[in-house]
């Protein structure tokens, strides 16, 4: 989680920022799934063998969150593509210097 956040903050490349965001979000998903584990629990399918079941609800929540995460990444990548088409670079510093030039 911290690794993902670190990439977002430090990297100068927009593409890497999107990847960092994805790592950050995935870490949170794993945290949620880990909440669901019940000791000795099995998959929540009704059988005679099992005496405890893992909680399926966090999995369902994360299924939703994964979809949201995919949409976010897709939109982020689409924006990076558009930025590249308009500026011909996706490095933050180069874009800043381009913008400073165009302001003058």
């Amino acid at each position: 989680m911290v690794g993902g956040l670190f990439i977002i903050i430090t990297s100068q490349n927009y593409l890497k920022k999107v990847v960092g965001l994805a790592i950050f979000q995935t870490a949170v998903f794993v945290f949620f799934v880990s909440l669901a584990k019940v000791l000795d629990g099995t998959a929540p399918i009704l059988t005679k063998m099992a005496n405890a079941y893992s909680n399926p609800l966090p999995h369902v929540l994360i299924l939703t969150a994964i979809v949201v995460g995919v949409a976010t990444s897709a939109l982020g990548l689409a924006l990076v593509l558009q930025i590249y088409k308009n500026y011909e670079t996706i490095e933050e510093k180069e874009i800043e210097s381009l913008e400073l030039k165009s302001d003058k």
Binding site: I8, L21, F32, L61, T64, A71, T72, L79, N86, Y87
Partner: protein
């Protein structure tokens, strides 16, 4: 026949815009997406009015999706807290959609108008979901839908200025971090209580009356995540570029309603759920929200004075105004929360009106509106300029406008809490607001260049004037807004005193 639909009104106000948005997404026509959106939003307003009628009878509606009882199912809750905001939301969205057509046609390729209105309805539906939802994870989903729709609409501004892409990208990254923080908080809360329903959360949290570290960590994560989304200083940096580079039509919706709905939920979380830890709550309000609000008011206003670009100026003034709202909410009593709600409702109208007028100027000027470019506009386009003047005076807080009512109630609330320093600061920042607004007025009416008045487009200035007249009406006859706000405060504060 309509009765079947009316029973599902709480769900329909959210689902209807979302459904229609999927239908109009690929319409290549110039006008049909707009017509369908208008019809949808008329229905939306009708449903909101129906909800108001129901609320005035029963006082509380809990709508269970799929008839799953809470806390197992997702539920929507409508009560005194959100009905006022819901009504204003419905009306304002309809007005700004009327306004948006000509503006969109000028700013984006007409073949994209189907997509633009699809995203527009997506944003409307999901923001409305934030107002109504009673489930903390469901909120995250609506938060992300509205953010993604907003980002795409902001990026459509790239046809005007390519910086819109950077603004959208920054909003995406910062917004996603905020939302993910919120989800971490939800995870902690769920781990400790096993519930996501807000009413049930209160009951379950009560068993940890001494407070657990995991709960406090979760609460802090949720609050910080929401603060990013509501653009509370110092995590507001995504807001000014996003407001100023978005297509003008969408800036209106974004400035008027997007942060307001999230602020509303922020307050609801504070005063409805976290209230069971009064010591944590007062720690957060006194040492985090209160100082940050004061900083937001001061710094937002000062930065606004130095802005040359009018849309940026208004965006920074929005930061200061969000500061006023959070300052009121940090007061922990009835008068404070009520004045916060008064300002949420009033400021939505004021900023909406200002962005509408400036958006029209951007179309007329065919470039970004800077201070210089406004020279003589007061004579050239008198109708819109006069509306801008009234909205601006309301922003400063002159009598006979609704901004005055907001300031009056805020001062009263601060005075009863004996916060004299804040009173002084709010007064100074109102005076500074005169400075930045006077710069606009000076360019528009007092520059040497005099133009003959030109014809203005009635389709655009009528919606602007509807907002402006409502500003004056609520300035003179402020009872509806006061009533709704007091109702909201009644509901939220009654929990605090028990």
């Amino acid at each position: 026949m309509f009765d079947i639909f009316l029973d599902d009104a709480p769900a329909l106000v959210v689902v209807l815009p979302l459904l229609i948005s999927a239908i109009i997404a690929f319409m290549p026509s110039k006008i049909w997406p707009w017509i369908i959106s208008i019809i949808t939003l008329f229905l939306h307003l009708f449903l909101s009015l129906h909800l108001l009628k129901e609320i005035s009878v029963s006082g509380l509606i809990i709508y269970e999706f799929g008839n799953w009882e809470p806390p197992w199912g997702i539920s929507f809750k409508i009560d005194g807290v959100n009905i006022g905001l819901q009504l204003l939301f419905s009306i304002f969205v309809l007005v700004s959609t009327f306004y948006s057509r000509k503006i969109f046609l000028n700013e984006i390729d007409y073949r994209d108008s189907g997509k633009a209105y699809s995203l527009w309805l997506l944003a409307v539906g999901s923001l409305n979901g934030i107002i109504l939802t009673n489930d903390i994870f469901n909120l995250f989903v609506f938060l992300e839908i509205s953010a993604l729709a907003s980002i795409s609409l902001i990026a459509l501004g790239a046809g005007q200025n390519r910086k819109a892409l950077l603004a959208a990208f920054n909003y995406l990254i910062i917004g996603a971090i905020g939302a993910t923080f919120y989800v971490i908080g939800v995870g902690f809360a769920y781990a400790m209580t096993g519930t996501l329903n807000m009413n049930d959360l209160v009951i379950q949290l009560a068993q940890y009356s001494d407070g657990q570290l995991a709960i406090f960590a979760g609460m802090s994560f949720m609050l910080i995540g929401l603060m990013v989304k509501a653009a509370i200083f110092p995590v507001h940096i995504w807001l000014p570029p996003a407001y100023s580079y978005a297509p003008s039509a969408f800036s209106t919706l974004l400035a008027a309603l997007a942060t307001k709905t999230i602020l509303y939920f922020f307050v609801r979380l504070l005063y409805e759920v976290f209230i069971i830890y009064p010591s944590y709550l007062s720690l957060f309000l006194d040492f985090v929200l209160y100082p940050l609000s004061l900083l937001a008011i001061f710094i937002g206003t000062v930065i606004a004075i130095y802005q040359d670009d009018i849309k940026k100026l208004l965006a920074f003034s929005s930061i200061a105004q969000i500061g006023y709202i959070t300052l009121a909410f940090s007061l922990k009593d009835h008068s404070g929360v009520a004045s916060g709600f008064v300002h949420i409702l009033n400021h939505a109208l004021i900023k909406g009106g200002l962005f509408m007028a400036v958006g029209y100027f951007a179309i007329l000027y065919k470039d970004r509106v800077t201070l210089n470019s406004l020279k003589g506009f007061g004579y050239k386009y008198p109708i819109t300029s006069f509306a801008l003047l009234i909205c601006g005076l309301s922003l400063i807080g002159l009598p006979l406008t609704n901004g005055f009512i907001s300031k009056l109630y805020l001062f009263q609330a601060l005075y009863t809490n004996q916060m004299y320093f804040s009173i002084a600061l709010v007064a100074v920042s109102s005076a500074l607001a005169v400075v930045y607004f006077w710069k606009i007025v000076e360019q528009m009416w007092f520059s040497e260049i005099k133009f003959k008045s030109e014809k203005e487009d009635a389709y655009i200035y009528l919606p602007i004037w509807i907002v402006t007249i409502s500003i004056i009406i609520f300035g003179i006859y402020s009872t509806p807004i006061i009533e709704f706000s007091n109702l909201s405060a009644d509901y939220l504060i009654s929990g605090y005193q028990n």
